[in-house]
Symmetry: C2
Subunit: 365 residues, 2 copies
C-alpha cells in the first residue's frame, strides 16, 4: 500500500472547523481501509500573516509542492482588511494556484434533490441540475502584468490590470473541458467576450481549433459571457460543461453555485498538468464558499463543501472512485434524512452543528 | 417651443421593427402636444457595414454628435460573423459610446408586476424589484491599450486586453450613482474585485473618498463583484443602486435583467457629462436586449424595451417627466390588461405582434 501525502491548509474563519470534519474521514479511511493517508498541516491567509507576516510561508509552500494533494479551507476576514496588498489573505491562495500551476479549476454545480426548494430559483429550473464549470485558473487578468497603480500627479492615479492569454493556455484548459465532457453529457459551451476583447477572439479561435483537431465528437457551442450569465439564470439545465477564463469563471461559477441553493455545499478541484514521467498531477481541493467570518468559531458552519472537496480529492488525485462515490452518496443520504446545518435548514428538518453534520455523514459512509 | 433633435439608429435585426414603433410615439407627441421632435435616421452595425463598409459612417457619427439624443435599436447577426474585427457590428456601438463620451450607463432592472411569474426566480424574490445598475461605459477593459493579438511564432499567439481606470473616471461615475440614489432609496453598492485587481483597489478607494467628500448622506456598501453576482441571484431586493465598471456592469446588468423576467422589456440610458455652458448632456437610449436575428423581420419582436428607452429619453434628455411617467404607466397598463408579445406570453393572455403592441401602448398613452 502506497503512502498518500495530504497537506492541509484550513486557513481562516470557518476553514478551521470544516477541515476538522475532513480529518475524521481521513482517520477513518486509514483505520478501516488502510488507505495510507499521511497528513501535515500549515497556515495560509490571515492565520499565516499573523504568524509569519506573509499570506503563506516558504516552508508551507514547499510542503504544498511536495504533497500529493492539498486540501484548502478558506481565507480572509475583516481582521486583515488593512493588511498591505501583497500580504492580504487572498495572496496565499493565488500563490498556491500559480506556483503549483493549477490551471484547471473544476467547479461542479449540482442541485441536491433534498435542497431544490432552497434555491431562489423555481424548483423546476434547478431540480436535477448537474453542470460543471471548468475555469482557467493561472492566467488572465489575475496574473497579467502590468498590474499596478500609478500616481499621475494632480491627485490622479491610474489603476491597471492586464488580461493575457497565450494559445497553449487556452488549448490545455479546453482539452480538460472536452475530456471531462466525454465522461458526462458530451457537451461543452465556451464563454468569452470576443465582441469586445482580443483575448476573447483568441480564446474562441483556439477552443474551436482544439475541438476540430481532437474532440470533434463532443458538441461545442460558444456564448458571449454576458449572455452566458443570463442563460445560467434562465435555464441552467441547457449546459453540461462550461469552459471559460479566470475572471469570467470566477463570476459565472459563483452564480451557478448560487442557483443550486447549495452554496455552502459545493466543492472544487484545481488541477495541474500530468507529470510527463509519473502521470501524477498537482492538485488542490477547496470549497467554493469563503471563510464566513460572521459565523466562524461557533461550530455551526456547514462542512459539506469541504467534505465534498475531499471526495473530489479521492476521485481526481487518488483514483479512489468507489470511495468518492460512496462519500458523495453519504452526503446525499444525510440530506435526504433531513439533517441540516443552519444555512440549509428547512421545515421539518433536524438542525445540527458542524461536528454533528460531519459525524452523520461519517456514520453513513 | 424649442426643436428637439433625435437621431434614430435602428441598426440590425429586430432593431428596425422596434424603432418603427417608437416613431409612432414621436409623431403622436408632435401632433398632440407640439413636442417639436425632429428626427433623422442613420445606419449602424451590420446595416452600416453593408452600405458603407464600416460599422458607422463619419456622416452618421456627425449627426449623432449634433443630436440632442440618439435612439439606438440593436446590432449584429450571423450575417456579419466573419466581418473584420474593426468593422464588426459592435464596433459601431462602441464608437458611439466612446466618441459621444457616454460614460454613465443607467440600466434599471424592474419587475413589472404582471410579469413576476415569468421570471425563473421565485415570484417572492422578484416581485416589486426595482434596482438601478450604473455601469461605467467608456473605460476599463473595453477601451484600454494594448488590446491586440501578437504572433509569438511556434504556432503561439498572445491575446492582450488592458483594464485601465483613472481617478476622475471613477469619481464621475460614482457621483452619478450617488446623485441617482438620492432620488431613490438612497443606497449605493459598489462592486469590484479589489482582492485581485489593482483597478479594483483604486475603484474602491475613489468611491469611498467621493462618498466621504460629497455624499455621506447616502448609504454606501462595497461588495466583491463575484459575491455581488451571487447576491443578485439570492436576494436582489437588498440593492437600490449598484455602481460598477464596464465589464462587471456588462455581466451584472444582464443578470439583473434576466432576474426580472422582463428581459425583452428593459431600457437603458447612456449619458455624457453636462456641458459646462448649456448644461446639456449627450445621450443615447437603447434596449438591453440584442438584435435577435432568429425572429427578425417576422413582426413578432417585443417593442417594449425600445419604447421604454424612449421614455428614459423623455426623462433624462428633455426633462419631460410627466410624459415619461405617462408612457411608463401606459406600458404597465397594457401588460396588466394581458396583452403580450410571444416572448412574455402567458395563459389567459392575448398574443399580439410588434405593431399591435405598439398601438396598444399608444392608445393607452
Ligand atoms: C478569494 C478570491 C481571490 C478567489 C478568486 O477570485 O479566484 C475566489 O473568489 C474564488 O473564486 O476562488
Ligand atoms: C454588444 C456589446 C458590445 C455590448 C457590451 O458588451 O457592452 C452589450 O453586451 C451591452 O451590454 O450593451
Amino acid at each position: 500500500m502506497s503512502v498518500r501525502k495530504l497537506f492541509l491548509l484550513p486557513g481562516d474563519g470557518i476553514g478551521k472547523e470544516t477541515m476538522a470534519e475532513v480529518r475524521k474521514f481521513i482517520t477513518a479511511m486509514n483505520e478501516k481501509f488502510g488507505s495510507g493517508f499521511e497528513t501535515e498541516e500549515g497556515l495560509v491567509g490571515g492565520s499565516a500573516y499573523d504568524a509569519h507576516g506573509v499570506a503563506i510561508s516558504e516552508a508551507d509552500m514547499e510542503k504544498a509542492l511536495a504533497a500529493d494533494a492539498v486540501l484548502f479551507g478558506a481565507v480572509g476576514g475583516p481582521k486583515w482588511d488593512s493588511v498591505p496588498y501583497e500580504h492580504r489573505p487572498e495572496a496565499g491562495l493565488l500563490r498556491l494556484r500559480k506556483d503549483l500551476a493549477l490551471f484547471a479549476n473544476l467547479r461542479p454545480a449540482i442541485c441536491y434533490p433534498a435542497l431544490a426548494n432552497a434555491s431562489s430559483l423555481k424548483p423546476e429550473i434547478v431540480e436535477g441540475l448537474d453542470i460543471l464549470i471548468v475555469r482557467e485558473l493561472t492566467g488572465g487578468v489575475y496574473f497579467g502584468a502590468p498590474k499596478e497603480i500609478i500616481d499621475l500627479g494632480n491627485g490622479q492615479k491610474r489603476g491597471i490590470d492586464t488580461q493575457v492569454y497565450d494559445t497553449y493556455e487556452i488549448e490545455r484548459i479546453a482539452s480538460v473541458a472536452f475530456e471531462l465532457a466525454r465522461t458526462r453529457k458530451n457537451k461543452v459551451c465556451s464563454m468569452e467576450k470576443r465582441n469586445v476583447m482580443k483575448s476573447g477572439v483568441l480564446w474562441n479561435e483556439v477552443v474551436t481549433a482544439t475541438h476540430k483537431a481532437k474532440y470533434s465528437d463532443v458538441q461545442l457551442d460558444h456564448m458571449l459571457a454576458d449572455a452566458g450569465g443570463m442563460q445560467l439564470v434562465r435555464w441552467p439545465k441547457q449546459f453540461d460543461v462550461i469552459v471559460t477564463d479566470n475572471l469570467f469563471g470566477d463570476m459565472l461559477s459563483d452564480i451557478a453555485a448560487m442557483l443550486t441553493g447549495s452554496l455552502g455545499m459545493l466543492p472544487s478541484a484545481s488541477l495541474g498538468a500530468p507529470d510527463e514521467v509519473t502521470g501524477k498531477r498537482k492538485a488542490m481541493y477547496e470549497p467554493v464558499h469563503g471563510s464566513a467570518p460572521d459565523i466562524a468559531g461557533q461550530g455551526i458552519a456547514n462542512p459539506i463543501a469541504m467534505i465534498a472537496s475531499f471526495a473530489m480529492c479521492l476521485r481526481y488525485s487518488f483514483n479512489m472512485i468507489k470511495e468518492a462515490d460512496d462519500l458523495e452518496t453519504a452526503i446525499a443520504n444525510v440530506l435526504e434524512r433531513g439533517i441540516r446545518t443552519g444555512d440549509i435548514m428547512a421545515e421539518g428538518c433536524t438542525k445540527v452543528g458542524t461536528e454533528a453534520m460531519g459525524d452523520a455523514i461519517l456514520a453513513e459512509f
